[in-house]
Subunit: 150 residues, 2 copies
C-alpha cells in the first residue's frame, strides 16, 4: 500500500540528500564547526551554508556562538533532540556499510556501549521486549492516520 502522507517520504523531504546525511554523520561524530564539516565532506561553502541553514530551520541543528582568540564570533552547529533522533538512521546506514562495503580487517568505526564495552548495533524490536526482529516477523498495516494514495 502507498500513503499520500508517508512518513518515510516526509523524513526524506528534510534529510534525504546525500550531503545532508553526511552532515548528520559528522554531527553525530561530534563535528560542530563549519570548516570541519567543509573539510570532511568536501562541499563548497555555499552548499554547506545552505544545508546547515535548512537543518537549523528544520530544528535539527541549532547554532551556538563561539569566539576564538583574535577572531570574530562564529556559530557552531549542534544537534537538537530532534537531530539526535536521527542517530539510528545514521547508525543503520553505517551498519550496512560495515557489512557490505567494509574492510577485511574489521570495523572502520568501533562503536561500543560505555557501561559494558560491548559493540552496538541497530535492531528492530517490539515494545514487548522481543529484540532483533527480522522483517518476516513483522507486519505493516495502515494506521489511524493513513491516507492511502489514490
Amino acid at each position: 500500500m502507498s500513503m499520500e502522507n508517508c512518513p518515510v517520504q516526509r523524513t526524506l523531504d528534510v534529510v534525504g540528500e546525500k550531503w545532508t546525511l553526511l552532515i548528520l554523520r559528522d554531527a553525530v561524530n561530534g563535528v560542530r564547526r563549519f570548516d570541519d564539516f567543509r573539510r570532511h565532506i568536501g562541499l563548497s561553502e555555499a552548499v554547506l551554508s545552505d544545508r546547515l541553514r535548512k537543518l537549523t530551520a528544520a530544528g535539527i541543528m541549532r547554532t551556538v556562538p563561539y569566539r576564538e582568540p583574535g577572531s570574530r564570533s562564529r556559530n557552531e552547529y549542534r544537534l537538537t533532540r530532534k537531530g539526535w533522533d536521527l542517530w539510528p538512521v545514521v547508525t543503520a546506514l553505517r551498519q550496512w556499510g560495515e557489512t557490505y562495503a567494509g574492510e577485511p580487517e574489521g570495523p572502520v568505526m568501533d562503536i561500543r556501549h560505555d557501561e559494558c564495552g560491548a559493540p552496538v548495533r541497530v535492531v528492530v524490536e517490539c515494545t514487548a521486549g522481543h529484540v532483533a526482529l527480522p522483517p518476516s516477523e513483522v507486519t505493516a498495516r495502515p494506521g489511524p492516520a493513513a491516507r492511502p494514495q489514490a
Copy 2:
C-alpha cells in the same frame, strides 16, 4: 574524526538518493512491479529503470520474470538479503517521520510484531543485551580498518 573509508558514505554512494530510498521503502512494503513503483513514487520510466538497474547491479534487488495472461514476460524486482538488510534504515527513517512529521491521529503505518502484536521500533542496543541506548551512552573510536582522512 573523519574516515577516508567511511561506511556511512559508502552506503550513501549506493543508496543515498531520495528516489532510491523511496524505491527501497516501496520494496520493503511489498512492491515488486515496475508500474507500481512508478505510480507510487511518481518517477519517469527512464529514471526508475536506471535506479532499479543500479540496485540490481549492487545486489540489493534481483529480477524475477513473471508473465500475466496475454502479456509479454516482464521482470519483477525483489529485495535480496543484502537489500532486506536496509530494512532498519527505512524503518528508522519512518520512525523519525512519524515522530516529527506525523499526524495527530496516530501512526500512518501501524507496524507490529506478528507473534505478540506489540508495535515495533528501531533502537540501538549492545550485543550484551542492553537495549534502547541513547547516543550519550555510546562511544565511537577508530576500528582496526580505520583510515583517517588526511
